[in-house]
Amino acid sequence: MKAVPESFRLVIPSQTRYLNLVTGLAKRASLVAGLDDAVAAKVSIAVDEAVTNVIVHAYQGDPAKWVEVELRFVPTALEIHIWHTGQGLREDQVILPDPGEYVKHPRKGGLGLLLMSRFMDEVHFRDVELRHECCMIKYVE
Protein backbone atom coordinates (compact mmCIF):
# COMPACT_ATOMS: atom_id res chain seq x y z
CA MET A 1 0.00 0.00 0.00
CA LYS A 2 1.18 3.46 -0.84
CA ALA A 3 1.46 6.07 1.86
CA VAL A 4 -1.37 8.46 1.22
CA PRO A 5 -0.77 12.05 2.26
CA GLU A 6 -3.41 13.25 4.65
CA SER A 7 -2.55 16.86 5.11
CA PHE A 8 -2.70 20.15 3.35
CA ARG A 9 -0.77 23.36 3.51
CA LEU A 10 -1.68 26.99 3.12
CA VAL A 11 0.79 29.84 2.70
CA ILE A 12 -0.53 33.37 3.24
CA PRO A 13 1.00 36.82 3.46
CA SER A 14 1.28 38.06 7.03
CA GLN A 15 -1.81 40.25 6.77
CA THR A 16 -4.99 40.14 8.81
CA ARG A 17 -7.14 40.36 5.68
CA TYR A 18 -6.33 36.69 5.06
CA LEU A 19 -7.40 35.56 8.54
CA ASN A 20 -10.87 34.63 7.36
CA LEU A 21 -9.43 32.35 4.69
CA VAL A 22 -7.39 30.48 7.26
CA THR A 23 -10.15 30.17 9.82
CA GLY A 24 -12.63 29.09 7.17
CA LEU A 25 -10.22 26.42 6.06
CA ALA A 26 -9.51 25.30 9.62
CA LYS A 27 -13.22 24.94 10.21
CA ARG A 28 -13.76 22.81 7.13
CA ALA A 29 -10.71 20.71 7.93
CA SER A 30 -12.10 20.09 11.41
CA LEU A 31 -15.34 18.83 9.92
CA VAL A 32 -13.41 16.60 7.50
CA ALA A 33 -11.52 15.24 10.52
CA GLY A 34 -14.83 14.26 12.08
CA LEU A 35 -15.16 16.98 14.69
CA ASP A 36 -18.62 18.44 15.20
CA ASP A 37 -19.72 21.99 14.36
CA ALA A 38 -19.18 23.41 17.84
CA VAL A 39 -15.69 21.95 18.17
CA ALA A 40 -14.82 23.00 14.61
CA ALA A 41 -15.73 26.58 15.55
CA LYS A 42 -13.37 26.39 18.52
CA VAL A 43 -10.52 25.00 16.43
CA SER A 44 -10.96 27.79 13.93
CA ILE A 45 -10.76 30.38 16.69
CA ALA A 46 -7.59 28.78 18.07
CA VAL A 47 -6.06 28.98 14.60
CA ASP A 48 -7.17 32.60 14.28
CA GLU A 49 -5.45 33.44 17.57
CA ALA A 50 -2.23 31.65 16.64
CA VAL A 51 -2.00 33.24 13.19
CA THR A 52 -2.94 36.67 14.55
CA ASN A 53 -0.10 36.36 17.06
CA VAL A 54 2.34 35.60 14.24
CA ILE A 55 1.14 38.61 12.24
CA VAL A 56 1.06 41.02 15.16
CA HIS A 57 3.82 39.82 17.50
CA ALA A 58 6.22 37.60 15.55
CA TYR A 59 6.31 39.78 12.41
CA GLN A 60 5.17 42.99 14.13
CA GLY A 61 2.86 43.90 11.32
CA ASP A 62 5.31 43.54 8.42
CA PRO A 63 2.95 42.68 5.54
CA ALA A 64 5.73 41.32 3.30
CA LYS A 65 6.30 38.21 5.43
CA TRP A 66 4.70 34.81 5.03
CA VAL A 67 2.85 32.49 7.35
CA GLU A 68 2.59 28.80 6.54
CA VAL A 69 -0.15 26.63 7.96
CA GLU A 70 -0.36 22.86 7.66
CA LEU A 71 -3.38 20.83 8.67
CA ARG A 72 -2.66 17.13 9.19
CA PHE A 73 -5.18 14.40 9.62
CA VAL A 74 -3.76 11.68 11.85
CA PRO A 75 -5.86 8.68 12.89
CA THR A 76 -6.93 10.08 16.24
CA ALA A 77 -6.49 13.81 15.84
CA LEU A 78 -6.30 16.93 13.76
CA GLU A 79 -2.81 18.43 13.99
CA ILE A 80 -2.22 22.05 13.06
CA HIS A 81 1.24 23.42 12.41
CA ILE A 82 1.93 27.11 11.94
CA TRP A 83 5.38 28.25 10.81
CA HIS A 84 7.02 31.66 10.60
CA THR A 85 10.48 33.20 10.53
CA GLY A 86 9.79 36.17 12.78
CA GLN A 87 10.32 36.50 16.51
CA GLY A 88 9.79 33.21 18.26
CA LEU A 89 7.96 32.44 21.45
CA ARG A 90 9.48 29.92 23.86
CA GLU A 91 7.05 27.52 25.44
CA ASP A 92 8.49 28.20 28.90
CA GLN A 93 7.81 31.93 28.39
CA VAL A 94 4.10 31.39 28.04
CA ILE A 95 2.15 32.49 31.06
CA LEU A 96 -1.57 32.11 30.75
CA PRO A 97 -3.72 34.65 32.59
CA ASP A 98 -6.08 33.38 35.25
CA PRO A 99 -9.57 34.19 33.95
CA GLY A 100 -10.77 34.86 37.50
CA GLU A 101 -8.07 37.49 37.99
CA TYR A 102 -8.58 38.82 34.48
CA VAL A 103 -12.24 39.43 35.18
CA LYS A 104 -11.31 41.51 38.20
CA HIS A 105 -8.80 43.62 36.26
CA PRO A 106 -9.95 43.78 32.64
CA ARG A 107 -7.38 44.87 30.09
CA LYS A 108 -7.24 44.95 26.36
CA GLY A 109 -5.19 41.93 25.31
CA GLY A 110 -3.70 38.72 26.55
CA LEU A 111 -6.55 36.31 25.86
CA GLY A 112 -5.33 34.69 22.65
CA LEU A 113 -2.99 32.09 24.17
CA LEU A 114 -5.61 31.32 26.81
CA LEU A 115 -8.26 30.62 24.19
CA MET A 116 -5.81 28.45 22.24
CA SER A 117 -5.08 26.34 25.31
CA ARG A 118 -8.74 26.08 26.26
CA PHE A 119 -10.02 25.21 22.80
CA MET A 120 -7.26 22.75 21.81
CA ASP A 121 -6.02 19.62 23.57
CA GLU A 122 -2.34 20.45 23.13
CA VAL A 123 -0.45 23.64 22.23
CA HIS A 124 3.30 23.62 21.67
CA PHE A 125 5.88 26.16 20.58
CA ARG A 126 9.21 24.97 19.20
CA ASP A 127 11.90 25.73 16.64
CA VAL A 128 12.07 23.48 13.60
CA GLU A 129 14.75 23.89 10.93
CA LEU A 130 15.37 27.62 11.27
CA ARG A 131 11.68 28.34 11.61
CA HIS A 132 9.42 28.84 14.59
CA GLU A 133 6.49 26.53 14.92
CA CYS A 134 3.25 26.56 16.84
CA CYS A 135 1.67 23.12 16.89
CA MET A 136 -1.87 22.57 18.11
CA ILE A 137 -3.65 19.24 18.45
CA LYS A 138 -7.32 18.40 18.76
CA TYR A 139 -8.22 14.79 19.44
CA VAL A 140 -10.98 13.15 17.49
CA GLU A 141 -13.08 10.70 19.51
Binding site: T16, R17, L19, N20, T23, A38, A41, K42, I45, D48, E49, T52, I55, V56, P99, G100, Y102, V103, P106, R107, K108, G109, L111, G112, L114, L115, R118, F119
Partner: protein, 118 residues
Amino acid sequence: MADLSIQVREADDLAVLAPDGFINAHTVRQFESALEDLVKAGKFTILLDCERLNYISSAGLGAIMGLIETVRENRGDILLCSLQENVFAIFDTLGFTQLYRVFANETEARKALAESAE
Protein backbone atom coordinates in the same frame (compact mmCIF):
# COMPACT_ATOMS: atom_id res chain seq x y z
CA MET B 1 -15.17 41.90 1.33
CA ALA B 2 -17.61 43.20 3.90
CA ASP B 3 -16.45 40.97 6.75
CA LEU B 4 -18.25 43.18 9.21
CA SER B 5 -20.99 45.75 9.12
CA ILE B 6 -22.31 47.49 12.18
CA GLN B 7 -25.71 48.92 12.91
CA VAL B 8 -26.25 51.39 15.72
CA ARG B 9 -29.70 52.15 17.10
CA GLU B 10 -30.36 54.54 19.93
CA ALA B 11 -33.54 54.65 21.95
CA ASP B 12 -34.17 56.13 25.38
CA ASP B 13 -31.06 55.72 27.43
CA LEU B 14 -29.92 52.60 25.64
CA ALA B 15 -27.63 52.42 22.63
CA VAL B 16 -27.89 49.16 20.71
CA LEU B 17 -24.87 48.16 18.65
CA ALA B 18 -25.49 45.24 16.29
CA PRO B 19 -22.42 43.80 14.56
CA ASP B 20 -23.14 41.69 11.49
CA GLY B 21 -20.40 39.28 10.38
CA PHE B 22 -16.95 38.56 11.75
CA ILE B 23 -14.95 40.34 14.42
CA ASN B 24 -11.30 39.35 14.21
CA ALA B 25 -7.98 41.18 14.20
CA HIS B 26 -8.81 42.50 10.74
CA THR B 27 -12.18 44.05 11.50
CA VAL B 28 -11.74 44.89 15.17
CA ARG B 29 -10.77 48.55 14.62
CA GLN B 30 -14.13 49.15 12.98
CA PHE B 31 -15.93 47.55 15.93
CA GLU B 32 -13.80 49.42 18.44
CA SER B 33 -14.43 52.77 16.72
CA ALA B 34 -18.17 52.21 16.77
CA LEU B 35 -18.00 51.48 20.50
CA GLU B 36 -15.74 54.47 21.16
CA ASP B 37 -18.03 56.79 19.22
CA LEU B 38 -20.90 55.86 21.52
CA VAL B 39 -18.84 56.41 24.62
CA LYS B 40 -17.57 59.77 23.32
CA ALA B 41 -21.17 60.78 22.70
CA GLY B 42 -21.95 60.06 26.33
CA LYS B 43 -23.79 56.79 25.72
CA PHE B 44 -22.63 54.62 28.55
CA THR B 45 -25.31 51.94 28.53
CA ILE B 46 -24.64 49.82 25.48
CA LEU B 47 -26.35 46.63 24.39
CA LEU B 48 -24.39 44.45 21.98
CA ASP B 49 -27.03 42.69 19.93
CA CYS B 50 -25.08 39.64 18.69
CA GLU B 51 -27.84 37.98 16.67
CA ARG B 52 -25.87 38.43 13.45
CA LEU B 53 -22.41 38.15 14.92
CA ASN B 54 -21.06 34.91 13.47
CA TYR B 55 -17.62 35.04 14.95
CA ILE B 56 -15.53 36.87 17.52
CA SER B 57 -11.89 36.29 18.38
CA SER B 58 -9.96 37.60 21.37
CA ALA B 59 -9.28 40.80 19.43
CA GLY B 60 -12.98 41.58 19.70
CA LEU B 61 -13.11 40.70 23.39
CA GLY B 62 -10.19 43.07 23.87
CA ALA B 63 -12.18 45.93 22.36
CA ILE B 64 -14.99 45.37 24.83
CA MET B 65 -12.55 44.92 27.71
CA GLY B 66 -10.91 48.21 26.88
CA LEU B 67 -14.13 50.13 27.52
CA ILE B 68 -15.90 48.22 30.27
CA GLU B 69 -14.29 50.17 33.11
CA THR B 70 -14.99 53.55 31.48
CA VAL B 71 -18.69 52.87 30.99
CA ARG B 72 -19.07 51.48 34.50
CA GLU B 73 -17.31 54.46 36.00
CA ASN B 74 -20.00 56.51 34.27
CA ARG B 75 -22.77 54.39 35.78
CA GLY B 76 -23.33 52.59 32.51
CA ASP B 77 -22.66 49.05 31.35
CA ILE B 78 -22.05 46.86 28.32
CA LEU B 79 -24.74 44.16 28.01
CA LEU B 80 -24.94 41.30 25.54
CA CYS B 81 -27.90 39.60 23.94
CA SER B 82 -28.85 37.00 21.30
CA LEU B 83 -25.47 35.24 21.24
CA GLN B 84 -24.93 32.48 18.71
CA GLU B 85 -23.58 29.22 20.13
CA ASN B 86 -19.91 29.66 19.20
CA VAL B 87 -19.86 33.28 20.34
CA PHE B 88 -21.39 32.25 23.65
CA ALA B 89 -18.78 29.48 23.94
CA ILE B 90 -15.96 32.03 23.99
CA PHE B 91 -17.52 34.22 26.65
CA ASP B 92 -18.42 31.16 28.67
CA THR B 93 -15.01 29.46 28.35
CA LEU B 94 -13.31 32.55 29.70
CA GLY B 95 -15.81 32.96 32.52
CA PHE B 96 -16.92 36.30 31.06
CA THR B 97 -20.55 35.48 31.62
CA GLN B 98 -19.74 36.67 35.15
CA LEU B 99 -18.26 39.91 33.90
CA TYR B 100 -21.04 40.77 31.45
CA ARG B 101 -24.77 40.39 31.74
CA VAL B 102 -25.98 38.14 28.94
CA PHE B 103 -29.63 38.11 27.83
CA ALA B 104 -31.64 35.90 25.49
CA ASN B 105 -32.85 38.88 23.47
CA GLU B 106 -33.22 42.66 23.45
CA THR B 107 -36.59 42.59 25.22
CA GLU B 108 -35.12 40.67 28.15
CA ALA B 109 -32.20 43.07 28.33
CA ARG B 110 -34.51 46.11 28.38
CA LYS B 111 -36.70 44.52 31.03
CA ALA B 112 -33.68 43.95 33.27
CA LEU B 113 -32.50 47.53 32.75
CA ALA B 114 -35.94 48.91 33.58
CA GLU B 115 -36.03 46.85 36.76
CA SER B 116 -32.61 47.96 37.92
CA ALA B 117 -33.55 51.60 37.23
CA GLU B 118 -36.56 51.35 39.55
